[in-house]
């Protein structure tokens, strides 16, 4: 649904996106992660034809955005951080206005999306009277108007309270399950990304530093949690025997290649160290992300 090939974008001497390539497949929820200024919004801007790439190719729904923007965006909906509307007009009027920038939309369709997002009864009120949560729902409604196949969500939970964040998360899942949408989600909420996304890409200073499945990230191959009567002795023994390569935080071990948790247990029990628990550790996306983008350690001066 989205293809970026060697995309490069420079703003007045500053490189915002550097040789970025990734693909979002039909039906998946794809997470775009990165710190502020990493190039996420610029990348999204290029997908929507709002920002022109300096070089490279951006395709949406099979069409090149630069040369055939109309066809590319015909069935795309987008939500941006802090949704903005014409405050002095009603929610329904806002939807009517925004729908005309895509294709003729019937009043029945407008009513349908209002109902889907749960704004029925308030659609004739001026948007200035809406809470942040209601504005987010209206933003979702406008994105759903053109019956999209692809939804691009740029920080959709930004500024929402915990209930609002939870509701947005449930809504995104509903969008995928009920409407079968492909979703690109840019978010700072790593917990949210972990719960929603099937694949992620991580950007750092405009460059892609990771692209892969969330399941693979969480598997954290080789990392095992170990609970024993004496972790220090156990770790020392296992290192001496070459069964592990590293220890971490007094509770994790990294298995050496071709060794299993069963061997670890046998070795420790044989050495008289009681094993209270041993299990494959599941890494969170947050752990993974922080390890990936953490700055290099500062060398102490002698």
């Amino acid at each position: 649904m989205i293809e970026l090939h060697n995309v490069f974008k420079k703003f007045a001497g500053r490189i915002a996106v550097d040789d970025l390539s990734f693909t979002v497949r039909r039906g998946e929820i794809f997470g775009l992660l990165g710190h502020n200024g990493a190039g996420k919004s610029t990348a999204i801007g290029m997908m929507l034809g709002q920002v022109w790439p300096t070089s490279g190719e951006v395709k949406v729904c099979g069409h090149d955005v630069a040369s055939n923007r109309r066809a590319a965006l015909m069935q795309v909906g987008a939500i941006f951080e802090t949704p903005v509307f014409y405050d002095y007009l009603s929610g329904a009027r806002n939807l009517e206005i925004l729908s005309t920038y895509t294709a003729p939309t019937s009043k029945a369709r407008i009513r349908e999306v209002i109902e889907w997002v749960g704004l029925t009864g308030r659609e004739q009120s001026k948007v200035r009277t809406y809470s942040h949560g209601m504005r987010s729902r209206l933003a979702l409604a406008q994105a759903l108007l053109p019956k999209p196949e692809l939804l691009i969500l740029d920080e959709p939970s930004d500024g929402l309270d915990p209930e609002g964040i939870h509701e947005m998360r449930q809504t995104i899942l509903r969008l995928q399950h009920e409407l079968g949408l492909t979703i690109l989600l840019s978010s700072h909420l790593l917990n949210e990304v972990e719960q929603l996304c099937t694949r992620i890409a991580v950007l750092q200073k405009g460059k892609k530093v990771f692209e892969g499945n969330v399941a693979d990230v969480k598997a954290a191959r080789g990392k095992v949690a170990l609970k024993t009567s004496d972790f220090a002795d156990a770790a020392k023994l296992l290192l001496e025997r070459g069964l592990i390569t590293a220890t971490e935080k007094g509770q994790f071990i990294t298995l050496a290649e071709n060794h299993s948790t069963a061997e670890i247990t046998q070795t420790l029990v044989a050495a008289g160290i009681a094993v209270e628990g041993i299990w494959q550790h599941e890494q969170t996306v947050e752990d993974f992300y922080l390890n990936l983008i953490k700055p290099p350690p500062i060398l102490a001066k002698n």
């Binding site: 929507l48 920002v51 923007r69 949704p83 509307f85 007009l89 206005i97 925004l98």
Partner: protein, 281 residues
Amino acid sequence: MFFAQLKNELWKLFGKKRTYIGFGAFVIAQALMMLMFKYTHWQSMYERWLSGNGYLASEYISALTVALQMIVPQILLLMPLYVALVGGDLVAKEAEDGTLRMILSRPISRLRLLWVKWLAGIIFAAVLTLALGVIALGFARLLFPWKGMFVPGQTPTDLVFGIFTANEGLRLYVFSHLFMTVNAITMLSVAFMFSCFNMKPAAATILSLSFLFMSMVMQRIPFFEAYQNWFITHHFECWLLVFQTPAPWSQICQSEIILFAVSATAFIIGAMAFQVRDIKS
């Protein structure tokens, strides 16, 4: 779709309170000016002037005469201000508020978007000019009789001096508004052009006003007398020429063509700048 988009641009434009600042200012300015005309020495000055030229003053101190006198300073000062305010807002305000980003996440082309916005601005300029004329004449009629029209030669460039019957005066009064509308459209187009660049709405308004006032000031400097045709404010004065007898149609047509060309050029420059711009939050 085009008309639906245009209708919605008009909804957005006329739904905002600041769009009506100009209308409100015209009402207040005209009410004050009319009271001044009625209760100061203005009338006796005009009576002396008309009597000195052999005309019966009581026949020409009328609603039409007063309405035209009220319009002249407003066309020069208030009209550019309010038209530039709205023109400067048309694109830049949407970019500043963030609604432009939402619009441009949809498949509408940038050129089409600008086109409907510009047309909506043109409609606003026409309505504002019409309102100016109607309000001026309406107010003047409240306190002055419906009689012949006197156009004194005290306009900025002393272009005209005319005496007309009420019917003829009304016809010319209405006709002159057609040309005033072209002036307003040109002012709006200049502000619209600046609005298409990456700048705040206030900056677009101030730049366009600076451009217009600079043209007005330079036009009045004797050194530039030979270059009058290069100043758009010189061409703005052609609306007064319809009151000349006989009206210099070739001069009026030339000015109108130049003003149309300036408006089209401003739109094209604005569209080109907008097309290559990156729209970011």
